[in-house]
């Protein structure tokens, strides 16, 4: 038995698996425990061996980036080990996500609650960006909440590093409702702005309690964005007509935001508008957002332990739909089981995003 094998076996013995709490095409999530301390963990078992291309790309990304990121507002990868032909990721156990809280009508969000969640999101994201990692799939569903109220950014399956000048990046990322306009226009080089747009959408969703800009198709989504924010002009976004997939959808004037966000304070509206600027270079960065007046002014952000918590008992969290659908042709042998799963989980229709992989 060589050293690597022995280490792997040791890692495996550190954790125990308990009940299954979620299943997708490429991964099964179990509830587990650390043997030595009894600490609850989530174990994500990634099925390997049934794909022609080898290991699932999202798993590689998740391991690659999470191993580097250690921050209170980013989910912690505790361990990785393989068992038979499966790869197991041991993650921090978090019992709810922000989407559950937003949907639960029993909660009334105070302005300070929203501020607290925004501060934690920006803090975690700033850390990722400082370490040159784009998340590229931010949405309430991927912002998990610990029992003590801490918010943690999770699901780095679509993350990648940025600033590499030589390589093109895919524009087929981020769940549609949270995707910025430059990706719809086919930009193949982008930066932190894409994540900041998603944060702006989440901020608006926290205030409205419904998704702010929800389009049925990509084209529809662009129209929804323009209706909400006015169409971009040469002043608001210089040169946007030069992007590869630019489409002219006509001129729409910008409606005043105050009409929709009646309860929002002036600094909150200002920050929201800076998140949702068309020009990605002018869009506020996570670092600047952390120092924005909205977060520093009164009321203070709610202490995490006092934030609204999910009332319902822990239930299986369905994996993101894009993970469930799989990549079509990539899987042939397991077709029957795959179809059944995607049909049961398919009610999140509009949230799907075609996940294209880049091998460059």
């Amino acid at each position: 038995m060589d050293v690597a094998e022995r280490e792997n076996l040791e890692a495996m013995r550190r954790w125990t698996k308990e009940a299954k709490i979620g299943e997708g095409t490429f991964a099964v999530v179990y509830r587990g425990r650390q043997v030595s301390t009894g600490r609850p963990v989530a174990i994500k078992k990634i099925k390997v061996g049934q794909f022609k291309d080898g290991l699932d790309m999202t798993a590689i990304r998740e391991v690659k980036f999470l191993q580097e990121l250690k921050h209170p507002n980013v989910i912690e990868l505790l361990d990785v080990y393989s068992n038979k032909s499966n790869l197991n990721l041991v993650l921090e156990f978090l019992d709810s996500d922000l989407e559950m809280i937003i949907k639960d009508r029993n909660h009334v969000f105070k302005p300070a609650d929203i501020k607290s969640w925004m501060a934690m999101t920006c803090r975690g994201l700033e850390f990722c960006h400082r370490n040159w990692i784009l998340h590229r799939d931010l949405k309430p569903n991927n912002l998990l909440l610990a029992a003590n109220g801490e918010l943690k950014i999770a699901d780095f399956g679509l993350a990648r590093d940025f600033t590499d000048p030589g390589s093109k990046m895919t524009c087929q990322v981020i769940t549609r409702w949270y995707r910025p306009p430059e990706l719809f226009f086919g930009a193949r080089a982008y930066g932190t702005g894409v994540d900041m747009w998603s944060v702006g959408c989440i901020f608006a969703e926290l205030m409205l309690r419904v998704p702010y800009m929800a389009g049925e198709t990509d084209l529809e989504q662009l129209k929804v964005i323009f209706r909400a924010l006015g169409s971009p002009t040469e002043e608001t976004w210089p040169g946007h007509t030069k992007l590869p997939d630019y489409v002219d959808l006509g001129r729409v004037p910008k409606p005043p935001m105050q009409d929709l966000f009646t309860a929002a304070s002036q600094p909150a509206l200002d920050l929201l508008q800076k998140f949702l600027l068309y020009d990605p270079l002018k869009r506020i960065s996570a670092k600047d957002a952390l120092h924005h007046k909205y977060l520093t002014s009164l009321p203070h952000p709610t202490h995490p332990s006092k934030l609204p918590k999910s009332g319902q008992p822990m239930k299986a969290r369905p994996l993101p739909p894009d993970e469930l659908d799989g990549k079509g042709a990539a899987v042939t042998g397991q077709g029957a089981t795959k179809k059944r799963k995607s049909s049961t989980m398919g009610e999140d229709g509009p949230r799907k995003v075609a996940r294209k992989l880049e091998f460059n």
Partner: protein
């Protein structure tokens, strides 16, 4: 046909005079529910709620209807001498009149106030709480304003805007009380209501939750006190019966002709034992009381974690930014296509050429200073 009583129902409701043949014709003319002269119950003594619904409704019982022996109705000049059951009510225009005047004037529908001429309805009259009607008016205005202007200090970005808000509320209240610019003031209230509908609703919910918690705490307090009083009473009772029993034992002992000295000694020992036991019991009860007190205090303490001001960073991982100075430009053929001044496809999507340099340089210097060598002092030349 109209005379046929069996078909009377076909005609719909009939006047009592024409349907006198029907057995159910004893119905009175007055509308049910309104206290007309016919079905009005006898008026109670002043201060008790009578036929009017608008009696003071205060479950705590601390607030009572105001009445005075010198009361005199300003409309009919009846006083308590002529009508011992005199009860004066206040109109929405803040004029007092007695119940019989109200019945007389407003039973047949809205009518002008005999004092100021404002059109009033019977249902608008309320019981008087305060002797001074100006106070009465101010209280009701403030109650109305507080229902909608319910923002708290937490709802404001800073102290200044909260102060401005309080100022505005006070301004509106003053205008309403003193009748200054009424239409404009009402318009301001309506504008505020429209702009803050969601927040007002949320605050009402928050206030009701807080009120419920407060009530629960009070209830708990009351129960605790009652329990304590009961315990004290039982203790006293036990003590008395014990003493009684002892006295009897002494008498019985003496009756049986026992040695007086021995009986006395025994009783004294017993008394000592009893006081010791009582002391123990008292100590125990003290303990129980203390624990009950903390148990009572616990729910009130649960929300003490204070909200702290926002902190931008929670980690101390530095990006190495303090170790280098980025040049405004580098000779970099790889990223040449992404030069910002070209305004090419590369930059429009949000790509920053400077970031690629920043990353390269910061990654190069990040590890410096972590080792044992004092290399953090080293000047790093990151020029091309």
């Amino acid at each position: 046909m109209a005379t046929n009583p069996k078909l009377a129902w076909l005609k719909g409701p009939t006047r009592p005079s024409t349907s006198s043949a029907r057995p159910s014709s004893s119905r009175s003319v007055s509308k049910p529910g309104t206290p007309g002269p016919g079905n009005r119950p006898a008026n109670g003594k002043p201060g008790t709620p009578s036929a009017y619904h608008n009696a003071i409704n205060d479950p705590s019982g601390r607030m009572r209807e105001y009445s005075n022996k010198d009361d005199k109705c300003p409309v009919c000049t009846t006083d308590r001498y002529l009508n011992p059951k005199l009860r004066l009510l206040v109109s929405p225009c803040y004029h007092k009149m007695c119940e019989s005047c109200i019945d007389r004037l407003f039973t047949l529908g809205p009518a002008p106030c005999p004092i100021c001429g404002k059109i009033l309805r019977k249902s608008g009259f309320v019981a008087q709480t305060f002797e001074d009607l100006d106070v009465e008016k101010e209280v009701s205005v403030r109650r109305r304003i507080a229902r909608e202007f319910n923002k708290k200090v937490e709802d404001f970005p800073d102290r200044k805007s909260y102060d401005d808000y309080l100022e505005e509320v006070e301004d509106i209240t003053f205008n309403l009380i003193n009748g200054v610019d009424l239409p404009q003031t009402e318009a301001r209230i309506a504008a505020f209501r429209a702009a803050n509908a969601a927040l007002i609703e949320a605050n009402i919910q928050r206030d009701s939750v807080a009120a419920a918690e407060q009530a629960a705490a009070e209830e708990e307090d009351k129960r605790f006190r009652a329990e304590q009083a009961r315990m004290a009473a039982r203790e006293e009772e036990d003590e008395r019966t014990e003493r009684e029993r002892e006295r009897r034992a002494v008498i019985e002992g003496l009756e049986r002709g026992e040695d007086a000295e021995g009986v006395l000694r025994r009783t004294r020992a017993e008394a000592e034992r009893r006081t010791r036991r009582a002391q123990e019991l008292a100590a125990q009860q003290q303990l129980a009381r203390a624990s009950a007190l903390t148990a009572f205090a616990r729910p009130a303490k649960k929300d003490v974690i204070p909200d702290e001001p926002h902190i931008a960073y929670l980690d101390d991982l530095l990006s190495g930014a303090e170790r280098y100075m980025l040049k405004p430009s580098y000779d970099d053929p790889v990223s040449d296509a992404a030069r910002p001044e070209l305004k090419s496809r590369w930059t429009i999507g949000g790509y920053r050429q400077a970031e690629s340099w920043q990353r390269a340089v910061s990654c190069a210097v990040m590890g410096l200073g972590l080792g044992t060598v004092e290399d953090s002092a080293m000047e790093v030349d990151v020029g091309a």
